[in-house]
Symmetry: C2
Amino acid sequence: MPVGTVKWNMSDRKPTNSGLPDTLLGRRKRLLGSAYRLFYDQPVHIVRGEGVWLFDADGKRYLDVYNNVPHVGHCHPQVVEAVCKQLQTLNTHTRYLHETVLDYAARLTAKFPAGLDIAMFACTGTEANELALRLARARTGASGMIVTENAYHGTSWAIAQITTTYGTSEKRADNIVTVPSPDSYRGPFAGDTHAADKYAACLENAIEELARHGHRPAAFIVDTIFANEGIPAVPPGYLAKAVKTVRDAGGLFVADEVQPGFGRLGSHFWGFEKHGVTPDIATMGKPMGNGYPVSAVVTSSEVVNAFQQHSHYFNTFAGTPVACAAASAVLDVIEAQGLQAHALETGRYLKDGLKELAANQPMIGDIRGSGMFIGIELVKDRASREPAVFETEKAINLLRENGVLIGSTGQFDNVLKIRPPVVFTRQNADLLLEKLSTALTAAGVESG
Amino acid sequence: MPVGTVKWNMSDRKPTNSGLPDTLLGRRKRLLGSAYRLFYDQPVHIVRGEGVWLFDADGKRYLDVYNNVPHVGHCHPQVVEAVCKQLQTLNTHTRYLHETVLDYAARLTAKFPAGLDIAMFACTGTEANELALRLARARTGASGMIVTENAYHGTSWAIAQITTTYGTSEKRADNIVTVPSPDSYRGPFAGDTHAADKYAACLENAIEELARHGHRPAAFIVDTIFANEGIPAVPPGYLAKAVKTVRDAGGLFVADEVQPGFGRLGSHFWGFEKHGVTPDIATMGKPMGNGYPVSAVVTSSEVVNAFQQHSHYFNTFAGTPVACAAASAVLDVIEAQGLQAHALETGRYLKDGLKELAANQPMIGDIRGSGMFIGIELVKDRASREPAVFETEKAINLLRENGVLIGSTGQFDNVLKIRPPVVFTRQNADLLLEKLSTALTAAGVESG
């Protein structure tokens, strides 16, 4: 989950560890410390989940509009059963032979273009991106990384370095350079008829900047839906051009599918397919096990063989029979329920509803995205496109009060992020539209 | 799990990805690629686990002598039930309030000395060490890392850099320096009456080496049982002296408790307690959830507050209600069954048996360790202490044939590593001693 995309309770920022009340909030500050954040001005105390619904301790029901981890729905019984059955039987590691990990690896790699036929397992998106980074460095013998501005890729040291969306005291090393997010609405080349070429040309500048510091590019990594960048409408052709530039300089293209993957986008199973470009390495995680910690890297034998000349790979909790049972059950549900087609259909319905809503809501500056991954950019004025930062935060907190859990994203946190469990229905969309209308009106009036 | 501690099947090293037979082994090479390794000359196809037992596809039963992840026994019903119950109810993240994570954080931090009162959650030992490294750098403003030779700390980019036990093509950065493992049997100061002082003095050299490259020490990190270093008998007083030297130079001490933690050592709940030294940061993982992916960092508010000035922390799958339900159930079982005392008692019994065995087995050069973490160093000759490398590998494969799964560790992979589920009994110890006697005799004859 792209953290920091919802404004947190400011009082939660204050570092203090004593004299705190024995409430959940007080205990939390005392026991988890000052580096954790909560959603909402009034944090939610969730005790139960089912499908697209979350329930708080008072029995209040919330429509979940942003949690992508419970891909096939909170606590889906088929996934829970698969996990529990395997937990009762065996839960060891990948240094023994086991069918489940191989069967799943076969199913997963079958979802990729020819040549991307090897699956390696990790536990989190961070770990998958860590492995991708190590593989890319081994394959290219280079160390340069090119990433978009305002990107999120994870939380370890090296991945925090390429997570450009947060401020940090950890100085970015000179082997990491950024390029603008290919944003058709707000970026430096928004509205430009040559936006694809101009954004792609930034990769040449990035490669030159790396060269000035003595680096060659190992990889260009992007979240293929650019979730933290604000889910921008990407100028058609941009990514293919950008990737060609990187490959011409000897670098690989890593598609971070942790957020867009597994059919969420409706039109395609993976985000890279939408851009008409095949990665050298793809990483995936969050929805993969519907909440059980499992992630993966899919790549070619050429890439793995370069890595294995000097290193091998093992991850204790990764690729276990239980992790693969969870991931297999998720694929079963996606396929049996046709959830990719469902995401496409419901996404179109919701987008149509949002366009209607926009006619009466001048704050809605732009609507974009695909399937069950939609961004609504809120602006103070459609002409100036000034970000409606306060109004977005206000709307999110009003929606929370009214039983709808939603978040924001983008450079200014002014893009409402719709990224629910993909089992989200037309009825759920209708409820969202109704509540959104009320909240946007109220947020607009208050700020007006 | 410290990988590479058992010799793998050499045929598994060959990078090839086509023309492989449709056996489990062939499918594995094709689907998982060349960077994965298997245990044993004849890899084991495990299908079921229960307590200290693993069962292969032919129904053959193996005594598990090395898997530390199933701390309270494979597929422990109480842990399975706790996980399944929570999976059916809710599995969200730490941006909502939830009692389970706070209750567990309170129980976990209560196991630590005063001042170490904050728990932060991750999914794997690697991620816990990553967070420890970021915390240490933030707290000290320094970047130098001091690690022991032949250490294992994990698999990400930064942690692979401080994992000194493997060869790698990834050049170690000059902010990382090594010190010898404080080995009383084999190291540079083995047998020296001033070994503790002399090993500790190596920290001064390390700090000077860092200074020559313009670095100050951020942290000295050790696995407090030195598992991959060969489970050495550490000269009494060494660690306290070493830590003082590091602290005097402004660095922190990180205790990696991923392997020794949770009562395995019998005499203490954590490894650092055995050395009479309190860490600034402790990391834990593997046994914590009995196989459910969960890990943690425990530290002080001073350390977290330094970090949170510029960064915050979130990890999607970490500290979830399910992860904390698993971890709580493990603590329940440890406490209800008195497993720390059990580990102490069974460990003493086994060590006594091993000493008796040594009378008739000249290959046994040294027996050491604590509780359910014991090392048996095999040598060709007790006077020269030449490592019995081939014989160790032979014995491990013979034991596998005879229904006992054991591994090796140490610089020369000549230390048999006994690290079973802590529910291991005297009867299990008797069976191990019997099979070990046969295997050592056969391995000695074959090599003789």
